[in-house]
Symmetry: C2
Subunit: 187 residues, 2 copies
Amino acid sequence: MSLRHALLGLLAEEPASGYDLTRKFERVLQRYAWHAKNSQIYPELKQLAADGLVSIIETGPRGRQTYAITEAGQAELRRWMLNPPDVFLVRNEFVLRLFLLTAVEPDEARTLLSQVAADSAAALAELREQVEKFDATAAPGTTLPISRLVAEYGVRSFQTLHDWAFWAHERIGQVGTDPHPRVTADP
Amino acid sequence: MSLRHALLGLLAEEPASGYDLTRKFERVLQRYAWHAKNSQIYPELKQLAADGLVSIIETGPRGRQTYAITEAGQAELRRWMLNPPDVFLVRNEFVLRLFLLTAVEPDEARTLLSQVAADSAAALAELREQVEKFDATAAPGTTLPISRLVAEYGVRSFQTLHDWAFWAHERIGQVGTDPHPRVTADP
DNA sequence: CATTGACATGTTAAAATCTAGATGTCAATG
DNA sequence: CATTGACATCTAGATTTTAACATGTCAATG
């Protein structure tokens, strides 16, 4: 049950309402790390509050309830972070589809790979834009915040995916379809 | 419910028993693409059989039941493969922990990153060994099978993870701990 | 001032998944 | 020939997750 710790982790950064957290999941976490719907988030917040790991620190308009992590919550989050499992079990439908690519005709596989190359290029461009915006405003020579390090991992991952899709596309079947233009790394 | 399609995909490659499928999940799928326990696999196989997407083609010793995909199953698998979702939702506890790295002290984060670098180096070495063994036996100049393409994705992903962990480790806090030796790409 | 859309929190029933077993077969080993 | 370990299937109960709704508030817009 990683959802608890995902919520604790987000609340450790700053207090937030169920609505805020739902939007964070939708905007960033869900594409890279974890996904959860509001129908799961709200009950889990209540449970966390019942367990004393978070508490409501403010109630605002429209019934808004702002949660903050408690000291017990901090301790639990730390405990979890410092005790990773031996093997991480993965559920990634994208990679699953890669593994099952033999189930379609080579031509179709080529089409799918071409789509992967295009999608990853788009994701890469978007992430890179965010990163560059950040780097422009950040003071030079300063230590990078962890969020910037994580973003770097995203950029590198998408670049790898893109390169691979391009490479695999060229190797999979016959010629004919023209691939999407390849995106290269920044200088 | 991707489990159905994971099973269909594996059975499309070759007939197998629930036991065979469970082992395939344990040995390869679970680390990269999807994980499922036998307590989920056996009922799902029954359901697939009830739906006419697979059928028992052989019963062997120790009650072994070998399943094969049916034509209806092939059609369903193809339909699924050719209709990917707009966005892939991800559940990856490893990446989640990366996102939450701010929750621990810089020194602890460095230790964790160091561990990531070591683990990814090990995984990379293992995968590379398999790939090299395959490449040595494969006829040169032949078209690569899709499984080789997927393995290549694995190799590149782990190399990226390793490089990043090394890079992030150097940037995260102060000096002191000596990192694991860095693994570089093959020539 | 009516409408719209973002804000905001929930519930319920069904489906998927996990934990933790139970049960039995067969081949190889000492 | 007793033991061990891999082979092999299966279930029950609890937990997690999803899909699909249900309800209401407030700010901005025309």
